[in-house]
Structures are given as structure tokens and as C-alpha cells.
Symmetry: C2
DNA sequence: AGAAGTATGGCAAGCGATTGCCAAAAGTTG
DNA sequence: CAACTTTTGGCAATCGCTTGCCATACTTCT
């Protein structure tokens, strides 16, 4: 496949009349070699089309200049912001950024982790599905930062869904709703637990009845089941684990001849692309997910480059985007 | 960070009373070692928590058991199917799959390529933005397969947009439209060229006037500019480079007080999530993109494992999904 | 001018696997 | 039972780069 063998440090060294170590340093540690020599080496290297083999470097140094982002579902728009933010931040530091899909499974996540552990300098785990214990174990041997998940002692960037969930309840309460259901996400989801906690306590404080149903997988297709379950419950407000589910719910309600927001109010989380395209446009909790992705990489980099730094957990504010899927309670 | 040093082939070898080469072979070439020995080695390895360092292996063997998919924009729903298909196929063969974003730029794509070239066994380029020449050059030294792009002598999985575009024109013609504009995508996009070719020739054959406008970046935000340009042209049917752009166009037309499909018809490409959520629901060309991703990996693997195999270019049929954004021509 | 300090380059030993080659053991065959 | 083939395991070189240590050469200071 490759007729012309790739040139190595040795080829460049020979051609430039220096030692291999000098070539290496000319690339990776410029200040360790004279300016003139360096220039010369670089020129020769360019002429030979030399490019360092990152594998060889990593094998010796243990550093790969690469970080990985593990995401439960790449095609879930919820993660777009996170992905984009993390990627931008990584590239800004000259790091290779790789993205891997864990398919909503903790086992899978761990498997990916193990596959990549030697090939990257650190991991960002978005919405990690592994248990706290497993996560901590892995953190003992590797650099990692979390997004939207809180585990003792690990750096994390977290969108404040607790406060956001309170906003949702207050919004519903102010519209006169007396009851709500939470259509819950995957049971390993830290967010799902967090949201329910905040929803139920705030609901109690405001005198609303709150029920949790599910878990439902956070995709549009689950909307029908979720909507039907909610109708059995009878609550006037449905809070779905995410926008995909919420949109699925909207469709199902329409199918069953109910009008939103007249008969039922529906709220989602994430403010994904499509949330304002559907009819009625979805009321949803928007969060600075791009910022969260950026911040997670930032925290990871702190770990890698300044091992002494105390662990930080950064909380970012969310805000409710009110659209047409919520309205006054019926009757 | 890692208190307990990772164990190596040598540790396992010592502990099991065999040579390092035997340990290596027990993992990577089982049939080359006696069944009993192998069992024993594996047991010891498990006890020591040994896991092969893929970097070290790759350095020597040149094989990484990893493939990369390069995508212009990870957050563009158009690529979801491709990503999913490619990932599934790769995992089915036990390969590590990594995904990288090229941000719609050929230069960026090439840079990513060079960063990863030594770390992967091959590349799948989805909607490659590099020139034919550059692509061929890279293919000389690396295994690669293309999605939705045709370059002489390179394996490719292609959704048949040509035929699809003809369907679009015929659909519009049958509704009485006498003119259309194509709101073009990025100028490096092979698809954009392909689509225009098919649209314009079919239009000519059917006696429609066809104009190309653009390039527009294939995102919702560009919809306003695209719509305005189209209105100046005056054509009754607007064919947008993709659904994102088409949705942007729909919004702009609504803003300007035009009714779709009464005043204008709008067609997109891709049938992304959201195409049937917006109002009016979008008529769009759907393609088997998941299958294309799967197939591209398949072709890549043929190259890697059976170097003799003739290069194949597989064409997959597309079909028009007619929804509410197209209707009879005005007047 | 001599001592002390700094900048620069080379030597060589790794990093942790893979693999070609060889030798011993085991299995076949006439 | 000798001659031959096949299995199985070990030796040691190798992949391409990094880096600790040492030897010069060049500054700087007293």
C-alpha cells in the first residue's frame, strides 16, 4: 500500500548530519536545541516529508496529546453542544480529539474506556452511565472529567438541572396546574435522578402532586408509551426526561385527539434542534451545554498539566424557554 | 496517577513461566500456541489484570484494529445514519471506531487525516471535502473508502442522488411547476455538483427553467439568505441542498408572509430528524445512509484484509418522501 | 585569565509489544 | 524403528521515538 517508506527521525538525522535525539527535540522541545540547528532540522524534515509517529512517541513518553469524549448517544441532539464545546477546547490546545459512542450502556462505556485508555491522555465522560464506584476506580488510574454527573472527588461540569427543574414546577404552578408526572429517563442516568428529586420536592413545596413514571428510553419512539402512561395517571402537566421524548409525547397526544396546551401541558429538557420546529413549539429547559463541554476539557487539562490543582465541580445555570406547549391548567 | 504499574507481557511471562512471545501469541494468535499453555497464560494474565498495550503492538505490527470516520459536521443530522451504520459495522468486526469532525473544511480534513494516519488502519471519508487529487494521493499510502463521493479508483458507497434529483424534478413537473432554483451547498461538496447536474439536465428535458444559487452553508441560519435569493429569482419551486437549509428557507418564507406550498414549493435532501416536525412537513429525498456507512466500512475492510480485491463503488437507491411542502404551482 | 555556569548536541537505554527463525518435542509413516 | 513432518515454545531483533546523563563549547563573572 505504501510504496515509499515513511521517513523516521533517523533518516532526518542522517540527512541533516545530527543525532536522532536532536531531531526529536527539534520537534517536541524546541528550546532544548540551538535555533540554527533547529531550523536546519526542520527544513530537512520538511524536504523528506517526515512526520513524527505519534504511536512511537506515546509508547515512550506515555503522553498522546489526545483526549476522548465518551457519549451515550452521538445522535442525540442533547449532546451536540457538549461535543462541540469539548472539541473546540481540545483543538485550541492542539490536542487530537476523538469521540466515541457508548450506546447508553455502562458496560459499553467501560469497554470503550479500556480500549482507549492507553491511547489517550484523558477522558471526558458525558452523562456517564457507570456506577459511582466504577467511575471512581477508573479515575484512580486515569485522568477524567465528567459532564452532567456528580461523583465525589471528580472534576465535573454540571448544568444546574436542579434549579432548572424548580423553574419548571414554578412555571406550571403559576399556570394553575395541580399535578404533574415526570416521564423518567434511563435508570442509570444521574440526571434523571437529579431532576426527579428537584421536581418532586419543589412540587411538594408548591402543593402539586408529582408522580414519576418510567424509565423510558430517551427517544422519540418511546413517546407513545410515555404519553399513554401519563394519561392513565391523569396529571395535567407532563414533564419529559428530554426533548426527544417530549416530542414523541406531543405526537401521541395529538394522535389520541388531545390538544396541547389546552388539555395537557408538556415540558422537555435540552432545547434541542427541533424543539421549536414542532407543533406546538416545545417549552423546555435550555442549558449551556457547549460551555459545559468546554469546561470539562478545561478541568481535565488542569488535571493533566497541573496535577496539584484541587478538584473543581463547576455548576452552570440553566434557563427555561417557554414556548407553546405549556398553558393554563384545564377547567 | 497510576500507583500500581500496569503489567506487561513480561510480567505475565515470568509469572506463568513462559516466554513473552508466548504470552503475546496467546492473545493475538491463539492457534500458534498449545491449548493448555494458552489457557494457563490467559488465567495468569487475568489474575494480574494484564491488558495488552495497543500502542506497543501497533508500533511493531503496523496494525491498530482501529478505523476512523471523518465527517464534515458531526452535528448535522444528515450524517447520523452514516455514523451509526459505520460504527455498527466496525464494532461487529471488533474494531475500535473513532469519529472526527472536520468542520466542513478540506484543509481541516487533511490535518485530521495526518494526525490519525499512524493510529488507524483505515479511513472512511464521509462527504469528503478534499480535492480529487489530494484524496487520490492519500489513498496511495492509506486504506480509505468514501461515502457519497466518487473518485476514480477508490471504493465508495454512494446514495444515488442523481436518480433522486430526477425524482424531485419529475415530482415538481407533475405539479405544474415551470421553474426551479437549486440552493446550492458548499462548493467543495461533490453532492452539490452531482445534484445540480441531475436537476438541471432533468429540468431541461422536462422543459423547466433551472437556476443555481449559492453556495450557501448547509445550515438553518443560511435559510434566510437562500430564501431571499430565491425570491429574487422568482422560481416557484425551491430545492435546497439539504433539509437544514430547507427548514431555514421555510421559516424565512413564513416570515415574509408567503405560504408554502401555495406560493412556493420547497424540497430538501436527507430526510433528517425534524423534517416531519416542521410546518409544513418537508418533502425531501431520503436515502439509505445507514446502509451507506455500513457498506463503506465493508469496502474498507475488503481493502485491508483482502488487498487483491477489485475496487467497488456501490450505489444505493434514494427515494422521495412527499410531505406538505410541495404542492401545485401557483396560478 | 581562571573558575563557574549555561547552552547545545550525542549516546544509549528504554517503552511494550510482534515476529522471523531456530530447536526441541510430538506425531506420522512405510 | 528410522526418517520425516508438524506443533509448540523461546530467542532476540525490531518498530520509531523520548529522555537521562554526559561531554563539549560558549558565556559570564571576579
Amino acid at each position: 500500500m505504501s510504496p515509499a517508506k515513511r521517513s523516521t527521525v533517523y533518516d532526518v538525522a542522517r540527512e541533516a548530519g545530527v543525532a536522532a535525539s536532536t531531531v526529536s527535540r527539534a520537534f517536541s522541545n524546541p528550546r532544548r536545541v540551538g535555533a540554527a540547528t533547529r531550523e536546519h532540522v526542520l527544513a530537512v524534515a520538511a524536504r523528506l516529508g517526515y512526520r513524527p509517529n505519534p504511536l512511537a512517541g506515546a509508547l515512550q513518553s506515555g503522553r498522546t496529546a489526545t483526549i476522548a469524549l465518551l457519549v451515550p448517544d452521538i445522535t442525540n441532539p442533547h449532546f451536540f453542544g457538549t461535543i462541540r464545546g469539548a472539541e473546540r477546547r481540545a483543538k485550541a490546545s492542539g490536542l487530537t480529539f476523538i469521540l466515541s459512542n457508548t450506546e447508553e450502556s455502562g458496560d459499553n462505556e467501560q469497554r470503550q474506556f479500556e480500549r482507549l485508555e492507553r491511547s489517550v491522555d484523558g477522558f471526558v465522560l458525558a452523562a456517564g452511565r457507570m456506577s459511582d464506584e466504577t467511575t471512581k476506580d477508573l479515575a484512580r488510574e486515569h485522568n477524567l472529567a465528567l459532564v452532567n454527573r456528580r461523583v465525589d472527588g471528580l472534576p465535573a461540569a454540571i448544568v444546574d438541572d436542579g434549579a432548572g427543574s424548580r423553574q419548571i414546577v414554578e412555571h406550571l404552578a403559576s399556570l394553575g396546574h395541580r399535578s404533574l408526572v415526570y416521564l423518567s429517563g434511563p435508570k442509570e442516568s444521574w440526571h434523571a435522578a437529579e431532576r426527579w428529586r428537584a421536581l418532586s420536592t419543589t412540587a411538594a413545596a408548591r402543593g402539586l402532586r408529582a408522580t414519576r413514571l418510567g424509565p423510558f428510553s430517551p427517544r422519540m419512539e418511546s413517546g407513545a408509551a410515555a404519553a399513554d402512561a401519563a394519561l392513565v395517571d391523569g396529571a395535567s402537566a407532563l414533564v419529559a426526561h428530554n426533548d426527544l421524548l417530549a416530542i414523541g409525547v406531543l405526537r401521541r397526544l395529538a394522535e389520541r385527539g388531545l390538544n396541547v396546551p389546552r388539555d395537557r401541558s408538556v415540558v422537555g429538557y435540552d432545547d434541542i434542534f427541533g424543539a421549536d420546529l414542532c407543533v406546538p413549539a416545545l417549552t423546555t429547559l435550555a442549558g449551556p451545554h457547549e460551555e459545559a463541554g468546554r469546561m470539562a476539557v478545561e478541568l481535565l487539562l488542569e488535571r493533566v498539566t497541573l496535577p496539584g490543582t484541587p478538584t473543581r465541580q463547576v455548576v452552570l445555570p440553566a434557563h427555561l424557554v417557554v414556548r407553546d406547549s405549556t398553558g393554563p391548567a384545564p377547567e
